[in-house]
């Protein structure tokens, strides 16, 4: 692939890299795994880039490839010690924006999301990104009605964790 194409790709990626980091944040719980998944997603995006026709937004296309990589292709590296809890030292909760109680609530929510299964994680992630049901349905390959039903269940589950 030529250098111009690579430059064009990296420019697009640079403008959209937060999307990929957010996906990594939901599917991993420490910096090493985050970086491993980020790298794998970049490789998959680059390999698939020739098929990107520009008829959809780059971010929508990148979402699909990134989610597929996180859900189906990513292989956790053995050098990373797997724990069930999130390393919150990577997160910033500005004291100007959030009080101690809100910070605690957010940590509980992120921890609860991390413990969801891979498909429910994808649903919540797409909800947080304000994707509509149609787009979620087209990304996951399940019907809009079922997305709606399942989404409500996952949201109720998350709320219950905070208000048992």
């Amino acid at each position: 692939m030529n250098q111009d194409l690579e430059k064009e790709f990296v420019d697009l990626l640079n403008a959209n890299q937060n999307i990929i980091h957010k996906i990594c944040r939901v599917y991993t719980n420490n910096l090493d795994s985050h970086n491993d998944l980020f790298q794998e997603i970049l490789i998959q995006l680059w390999k698939s880039y020739p098929t990107y026709k520009g008829d959809s937004k780059f971010s929508t296309w990148a979402y699909r490839v990134s989610l597929n990589t996180a859900i189906s292709l990513f292989r956790k590296q053995s050098r990373t010690i797997q724990t069930a809890t999130i390393d919150f030292s990577l997160y910033q909760f500005s004291s100007q924006d959030y009080n101690a109680e809100e910070e605690e609530q957010l940590k509980l929510m992120y921890q609860a999301i991390y413990q969801l299964n891979d498909i429910d994680k994808a649903l919540i992630l797409l909800y947080l990104e304000d994707k509509n049901y149609k787009e979620i349905s087209e990304t996951l390959g399940i019907s809009e009605i079922n997305v709606r039903v399942k989404m409500n269940r996952v949201k109720t589950r998350l709320k219950k964790i905070l208000n048992p």
Binding site: E6, F9, V10, D11, N14, Q17, N18, H21, K22, R25, H34, N35, F38, Q39, E40, I43, Q44, W46, K47, S48, T51, R64, N68, T69, I71, S72, L73, F74, R75, Q77, L90, Y91, Q92, F93, D97, E102, Q105, L106, M109, Y110, N117, D118, I119, D120, L128, D130, E138, T139, L140, G141, I142, N146, V147, V149, K150, K155, L158, K159, L162, N163
Partner: protein, 204 residues
């Protein structure tokens, strides 16, 4: 504020990521991938190669001495089959693999990977059946040709039963080892894919 709104609010404001510079991204995309699919393909190639080479390794006696016409016919036909089967499966496998696209929906991608794996499973079981039959057939001919055995048959049916039991146990041990190997190897690689696919199917 509603908890989910609080979360959404924080989610959108997040910037505390390990950002990569453009030059780092140029380097990252050149790195080698270590994804599950790549490992599955490597193992699949080894499986094809193993079962393709196995008949060549097992072919010890090339002379036609001592075989009846029917036995020679069976040997010839089974040789053709042993070469035709991998070719048919490889063609089907390549067709399935070409359908695997990371740009598909999550459901389609998972389904296509699992279908390719299913095809390989059928290939493995077909081979196990063929090789089990080959072992039984080979043993049968061996017994017939073995003069010592013919002589020993005068010792009575006990000796014959003992040898047949031994052959059956050997076939069962072969099948057990093959089964354990695949359960371990693929259990490790496929567990997450299967689980995610089942979760999607439960939603539907």
């Amino acid at each position: 504020m509603d908890e989910l709104e609080l979360l959404k609010n924080h989610w959108k404001k997040q910037t505390d990521f390990p950002h990569k510079s453009k030059s780092e991204m140029h380097l990252l995309i050149r790195k080698s991938s270590s994804n599950v699919l790549k490992w599955i393909i490597i193992i699949n190639i080894l499986e094809f190669a193993f079962f393709f080479l196995l008949p060549l390794l097992m072919k010890v006696d090339d002379s036609n001495d001592g075989y009846t016409d029917t036995q020679l016919q069976i040997i010839n036909i089974s040789e053709y089959i042993s070469y035709a089967i991998p070719v048919i499966f490889i063609v089907l496998y390549i067709r399935l693999m070409r359908r695997i696209q990371v740009t598909d929906t999550v459901s389609t991608l998972l389904s296509n990977i699992l279908q390719a794996r299913k095809l390989l499973n059928i290939y493995i079981y077909t081979n196990i059946i063929i090789f089990s039959l080959a072992i039984i057939f080979g043993a049968y001919i061996g017994i017939q040709q073995d003069e010592a055995f013919a002589m020993s048959s005068s010792f009575g049916p006990f000796y014959r039963i003992l040898i047949i039991t031994f052959i059956v146990i050997m076939v069962l041990v072969f099948l057990l080892f093959a089964w354990l190997f695949y359960k371990l190897l693929y259990g490790f690689l496929m567990r997450r894919l299967k689980r995610n696919y089942e979760h999607l199917k439960q939603i539907e």
